[in-house]
């Protein structure tokens, strides 16, 4: 029996007619393009376009109200000789490094505590997140009052405890000001570390701790040989993420000190704002902002490479 007899006169069912749009979307290349479009538009409009504008601005001498001319790298050369810029760079690195170290240490400590079983665990975990949830500007204002030389609740407490005899000018003393803004940054950033690391800790099989305990590892050894290596991938991602955010931090310092006193807390972002918007030297402000770019690029590349390595394994 021939096949056509077995299956009937018309072996193939004709496909129904389709519209142009349907046919285009059936094609993977078009579908991919269509699906990518929203992301491309959003990223292009709000990231790429401002970035390119910023680059173009930084190689001109534009001021507020005065369209500029191309001046090549003059703005950057000027920055090189600008001592305030040097201070801002130094401050930014100190601010980022010190704050990150403390955020990691305190966040990890909190995460380890929260990973234990105790009454009111759920409540405590939610409570820990508070500094992270409150809008930074509001909480920073609260800190500003706490640091106020006259009304400072910190000073009052220390005074009552008999630890100090005079007033401490937290934000007015150039040496203390940077420490103060770092304290606030740490306070705000610890919850992110704690919760992320806690999530990481919870992916670690608790049996491993028990196995290590039976194998003869003391609590510290269990942490060092088992918990820490297994938590490292999460830690790396969290640290790199935090470094990027801290490095480009603006609002916290802007609210507390505005970069003062005498530029003691001036960071990349606050200085760029001060020069670009405050003084109206738009092109120089753009140049300062762009100067952050190489460093952030390195951090991002390291992060991507690391994530890829973790994914491969």
């Amino acid at each position: 029996m021939a096949i056509s007899e077995a299956v009937g006169q018309r072996p193939f069912v004709r496909a129904p007619r389709r519209g142009v749009a349907t046919r285009l979307l059936e094609d993977e290349r078009w579908l991919a393009a269509a699906l990518l479009l929203p992301t491309v538009v959003l990223l292009g409009l709000f990231i790429a376009y401002p970035f390119i504008e910023g680059v173009l601005l930084s190689v001109t001498d534009t001021k507020v109200g005065i369209p500029g001319h191309f001046v090549a790298l003059q703005n950057f050369i000027a920055l090189w000789h600008d001592s305030i810029f040097g201070t801002a760079v130094w401050n930014t690195f100190v601010y980022t490094a010190v704050a990150t170290v403390f955020k990691l240490a305190l966040g990890l400590w909190l995460a380890l505590l929260l990973n234990r079983h105790f009454r009111g665990k759920a409540f405590t975990r939610a409570f820990i997140l508070l500094p992270f949830i409150i809008p930074t500007v509001l909480s920073t204002f609260a800190w500003k009052w706490m640091f106020d030389p006259t009304f400072s609740v910190i000073n009052w407490s220390l005074f009552q405890l008999g630890l100090i005899h005079g007033r401490i000018n937290w934000l007015g003393d150039p040496n203390l000001a940077l420490i103060s803004v770092i304290i606030v940054n740490v306070w705000r950033g610890v919850p992110f570390f704690a919760i992320s690391l806690l999530a990481g800790l919870q992916t670690i099989n608790p049996e491993l701790q028990e196995a290590a305990a039976i194998d003869g590892a003391r609590p510290w050894q269990r942490f060092w040989h088992v918990t820490w290596p297994l938590l490292l991938p999460v830690t790396m991602v969290v640290v790199l993420f935090s470094v990027i955010q801290t490095f480009a931090d603006f609002q916290l310092v802007y609210v507390l000190t505005g970069g003062g006193p005498a530029n003691a807390t001036q960071l990349f972002a606050t200085y760029a704002y001060q020069v670009g918007v405050g003084t109206g030297l738009l092109s120089e402000g753009a140049a300062i902002s762009l100067a952050m770019f190489p460093f952030l690029l390195i951090v991002v590349v390291v992060q991507l490479l690391y994530i890829r390595r973790v994914e491969v394994h």
């Binding site: 099989n205 049996e207 039976i214």
Partner: protein, 363 residues
């Protein structure tokens, strides 16, 4: 190498009494299996012996030392976990060496012990690999290896085979048995699988609801269960149970069910006599139900209808309807039976079990 003594061991979680007055002696070099359904308290008992769980009351002795307040590492035990609990970031070698490193054993000695263990377990070629690159059976061997390199006094096994597929489980069971014979250490093995318990244990402890039900050699549990639970838990397919009424008939004691009635065999009569006029539970194992021919005394025979035929190969399981009662009989593979057949079965009188309806204790 030491005996383990468990005295009046109790564990309370708030209001929940998980382990109740457990008393056990695990002799030196004995292989003791604790078996019971999930939630019977065996895992809690294991964790208390290991030192991973605090003891509410009672004592655990390893050798002559009360270890209640000793940390796990100071109890000189090794444990094989259900999910192996291998350190995922360490190589097989480092996994096995970890316990020795923590105990500051010399490098050369560590190397020797790990390699010896790897040879015994057949994992020498995998020493450089990470656990995730191994199959389930290989991981199991690494977990064993990690335990044996330490030369501990006592081995604890927490359902070590339950994560393996059925075929591998049978294979590993045999390997474990050979391996244990070779080890000659005190071993406590926890499982919910009664077949594992019967095949591996020198003695078996059956637990239920935090209580020890029975302790004995495998065949002792099988042939003389102390209560209905042990009778039903040990053995596969499980023992058949049927309520029967005991009464004094004209030829002696009888046990009757709506579907069948039998003359109580002479050897059981004295024990069952006090129950005359009352209901008890009769138990009979599937292999103790046999197709009746003329030579069986009619007082031990009854009629049944075949509901389901399960041809297993070495035997056939017949699901039977006996009055309102369902029973399973294991018969010879050459028996030709099909659904709806009416067959006559005989009970092996010496294999009958009777249990009190209230306490469920064996009569």
């Amino acid at each position: 190498m030491a005996r383990v003594l468990i005295r009046n061991l109790n564990k309370m979680y708030d209001d929940f009494h998980a382990v109740k007055d457990v008393n056990l002696e695990i002799r030196d070099k004995e292989f003791l299996v604790l078996v019971g359904p999930s939630g019977c308290g065996k895992t809690t008992t294991l964790r208390m012996v290991a030192g991973l769980e605090t003891i509410t009351s009672g004592q655990v002795l390893i050798g002559d030392t009360v270890v209640n307040d000793l940390a796990p590492m100071d109890r000189d035990i090794a444990m094989v976990f259900q999910n192996y609990a291998l350190y995922p970031h360490m190589s097989v070698y480092d996994n096995m060496a970890f316990g020795l490193k923590m105990r500051k054993v010399e490098r050369a000695e560590i190397r020797k012990r790990v390699q010896d263990a790897a040879d015994i377990l057949g994992i020498r070629d995998y020493l450089a690999r990470k656990p995730r690159q191994l199959s389930g059976g290989q991981r199991q061997r690494v977990a064993l290896g990690r335990a044996i390199v330490r030369h501990p006094q006592v081995f604890l096994f927490d359902e070590p085979l339950s994560n393996l597929d059925a075929k591998l489980r049978v294979q590993m069971r045999v390997e474990l048995k050979i391996f244990f014979n070779f080890l000659k250490t005190t071993e406590i093995y926890f499982t919910h699988d009664q077949v594992e318990a019967m095949t591996l244990g020198d003695r078996v402890v059956v637990m239920r609801g935090g209580l020890v039900q029975q302790v004995g050699e495998p065949l002792e549990l099988y042939n003389a269960p102390v209560n209905r639970f042990v009778a039903g838990f040990i053995g596969s397919p499980a023992m058949n149970f049927a309520p029967v009424r005991v009464s004094n008939g004209k030829d002696g004691l009888r046990a009757d069910n709506p579907g069948f009635g039998i003359d109580v065999p002479a050897e059981i009569r004295p024990r069952l006599q006090p129950y005359a006029g009352r209901d008890v539970i009769m138990g009979i194992r599937p292999e103790d139900l046999q197709l009746a021919n003329g030579s069986y005394p009619p007082g031990l025979c009854f009629d049944a209808m075949v509901e389901v035929v399960e041809k297993l190969g070495p035997e056939i399981l017949l699901d039977l309807q006996v009055g309102e009662q369902t029973m399973v009989a294991a018969v010879e593979p050459n028996v030709r039976a099909k659904r709806g057949d009416k067959l006559r079965f005989a009970l092996r009188p010496e294999r009958l079990h009777f249990f009190d309806t209230g306490s469920e204790a064996a009569i």
